[in-house]
């Protein structure tokens, strides 16, 4: 979060306030902030504000101190006031947008960053954050526009390709999303997440052999990438390379024991030769996400193969129940209405 964008810090001149004591507090706070002592600066800012609520720039600087401490909700609260006091302040809008972003209030972040971008349309990093805010707030059309602007200015930026790919994927434009990830991999083969993202898209398209190669490349770049290891194993299982999969699954779970896919796949892999360990993994997959029917179905079939009919029936009952709960989106039944049909 401490990007160049937010290095607007503490640049205000030393205060000479109407209330001399307020000025003392404010200047003390400023000096502390400039030394990176934000925790210590905050009480002085607040004291200054109490003595003189109209001290210019004080809310902005207090907000910035909170921002520097990653206390984004507090930062947003003061920066909202700063922005209100000076709606034309680029710094206030940027900081407020970034604070909202930190609070995962992406729609509000986008609105603030959009206002800021009017002042600095060529500010790449600002536009990048704005585009991300659009993406995470599911404003896909706006996100797409922003990323395209960014891409025109930075055609070799792998992160921009990646994020545009994410936007397109979220907008169900799978083919174009894939093209963006492929471009990211091409311009920067070592860019973190590029191979993983591309592999994931291939995986979704059931292009397992292609996916396997991408996950493998991500693991080469980031050997500790637990998700890449899990998906690599899954792609291997679908590519008749199951012999490699077990080791990758175990590595993934060692790095992150909460990866459901890895437990599910290990349960499937071990079903024929180690029923009890397979069952343990399938149970763990169910514990992590009980709403997915696949692990219940697999566990039911495992119990059957082990002659445990009652437990199998219980799992199959779960599968049926979960399937009944599936929502038939996007078709919606209109309550209380019936067609005018045959008499």
């Amino acid at each position: 979060m401490n990007s160049a964008l937010v290095l607007v810090a503490f640049a205000a001149p030393l205060w000479a306030a109407v209330n001399p004591q307020a000025a003392v507090e404010a200047n003390t706070a400023l000096a502390l902030a400039q030394q990176g002592k934000y925790e210590q600066a905050i009480p002085h800012y607040r004291a200054a504000l109490k003595l003189d609520p109209h001290l210019p720039g004080i809310q902005l600087n207090l907000g910035l101190a909170y921002f520097k401490l990653n206390r984004f909700a507090d930062a947003a609260s003061w920066l909202e006031r700063a922005a209100k006091a000076d709606p034309a302040s680029f710094q206030a809008q940027v900081l407020l947008g970034m604070s909202y972003y930190g609070c995962r209030r992406f729609a509000e972040a986008a609105a603030s960053l959009k206002r800021a971008s009017v002042n600095q349309p060529a500010n790449t990093e600002l536009r990048f954050r704005l585009a991300q805010s659009y993406l995470w707030s599911k404003q896909y059309d706006s996100a797409k526009d922003e990323f395209k602007i960014l891409l025109a200015a930075n055609p070799d930026s792998a992160p921009v390709h990646i994020l545009l790919g994410e936007v397109l994927d979220a907008a169900n434009q799978e083919e174009q999303a894939t093209a963006e990830f492929e471009a990211a991999v091409k311009v920067s083969p070592t860019e973190p997440e590029a191979h993983f993202g591309l592999g994931y898209l291939y995986w979704k398209q059931k292009r397992y052999e292609d996916a396997r190669k991408e996950f493998q490349a991500e693991v080469a770049n980031q050997p500790q990438h637990s998700q890449a290891l899990a998906y690599l194993a899954d792609a291997e299982m679908h590519s008749d390379l199951a012999s490699n999969a077990e080791e990758h699954l175990r590595q993934a779970l060692k790095l992150d024991p909460k990866i459901r896919l890895a437990h599910l796949d290990l349960g499937i892999l071990l079903a024929d030769r180690n029923g009890s360990e397979a069952a343990a993994h399938l149970r763990e997959a169910i514990r992590i996400d009980p709403s997915k029917p696949d692990a219940h179905y697999r566990l039911g079939r495992l119990w059957l193969s082990m002659g445990r009919q009652a437990e199998a029936d219980a799992e199959f009952a779960q599968v049926k129940q979960l399937a009944e709960q599936q929502q038939p989106e996007p078709l919606v039944a209109v309550p209380g209405r019936h067609a005018d049909g045959p008499q």
């Binding site: 179905y297 697999r298 979960l322 399937a323 038939p328 209109v334 019936h338 049909g341």
Partner: protein, 555 residues
Amino acid sequence: MRSVNPAAPVVLVLSLMALGWMASGQAPAPIRFVYHPIDFTLDSSEMPERHAPETMAGGVALFDYNNDGSLDIFFTNGADIRTLKKDSPKYSDRLFENDGHGNFRDVTEKAGLAGIGFDNGVAVGDYDNDGHEDLFVGGVHGNRLYHNNGDGTFTDVTAKAGLNQPDPQYGPLWSVGGAWLDVNNDGRLDLFVVNYLAWDGRNEPVCEAGPGRRDYCHPKFYKPTPNQLYLNNGDGTFRDVSAESGIRSHPGKGMGVGIADFDLDGLVDIFVTNDKVYNSLFHNKGNGKFEQIAFEAGVALTENGQFISGMGVDFRDLDNDGYPDIAFVALDNETFPIFRNLGKGRFTDVTESSGMARLSAPMAGYSPTIADFDNDGWKDLFVTRGHVQSLAYAPRVQVEQPNTVFRNLGGLKFQPLTAEAGLTAQAPRRHRGSAVGDLNHDGRLDVVTTAISAPAEVWINDSPGANHWMELALEGTKSNRDGIGARIKLIAGGSTQYTHVSFAAGYASSSAGPIHFGLGRSQAAESIEIRWPSGVVQELKDVHADQVIKVTERM
């Protein structure tokens, strides 16, 4: 009476294809079809209210109704959806007689097969063993059994046969088709009726794809209904044994039925696809009893445990290992699942490993048929495609689609052929039923397909290559006359193939031609072994290729 002459369009299409190949320099696809029009348009009475049966119509059968050696075509058709009556000629079911060269003449009127209700599916079978194929027509709240009189006419014997009784618990049922099979090997064909869901036009849910935009409802808004099994008494009547056989206690939302003796115990079993409900596999235990073992056998669901829109199905050996496999189809993103029979009563889902998952993920299918379209000795998979939703739903999904044939490359790997196979010669449609057989006696299997509110399509197989073939027309004596349930093992060129006699394939349809084998480069079959349902085993040696062999069950 109507007739069509296909010569002109065929020549035109062939010329265009030749130009295309020359221009692209590409070799022709190993399976190719040429479109051939036929004067039938499926009319399911589509209305803005979107009543469910409108989108499910479209059964078709290929069978030789007059025993002249050529396959004729029967189409089911809809009715006024408000009355379920065929109150206009446009709703007539239709029978087209084949002149032996692939030209068809409408003989519906003479045959007496126009029908009276909203008809959905068709099953062909000689239930009285008189040598003339009869028709079961399943429909919405009314089924029909037509006895073939052998003189080009049929008689509606539904009431006499005892097939007209509404269900005491569920009321009138909606049958999407059925299958003839001999469940007890007594030499008489019994009838399995596939019922879809509980539909009441007076009390139908209303579903919207957007404000004010009605579309067909998800199956979950309707209650399931049971399938039915009727035992043939041998005197033209049937006995409903649905309850005592165990079939009735497993209601579903049946869309397709495949029959095969999957565990090779000599008793034919039944697989039913259900729409957004788990599939049913009814294992024939003998003595008229069935047990539903889909979960145990691994065919209830695909490997991800999701309920999918199971549509039509075919149940036939795809990998030539002697065990019948299951291929069925579903909607987009649900894939066209393939369950490989491992023997020992177990199947494994090979949809992913066969590549079919990736190939079929963007597709919506209705009617799959397993058959060898390039005569290379590997059975392929022809799928009619089209979405269940109305045309107004098109912005969300591809509602109208072309058909596709998945060429079996051996080892359960497939190559999809759509435009390459000539199947884009017609506009995409909401295709429904399909039936397969050699319509023009050239040794290559042709396909007839239907589509909602669109003309039917006859796809004449024009595949290149000089592979050899053989067809077996079985005639049971101790077994049922159609030989349904007979298992056949053929060895040619050192390769072994297996299949069995079943006319039930695809969605709501019936393919009742002779049993077809592609022999590849082999000019003869070294050995053909037929295991009749009666238990009789018959073997033929050194049979020349490229002919239809009539085989009568040894007494």
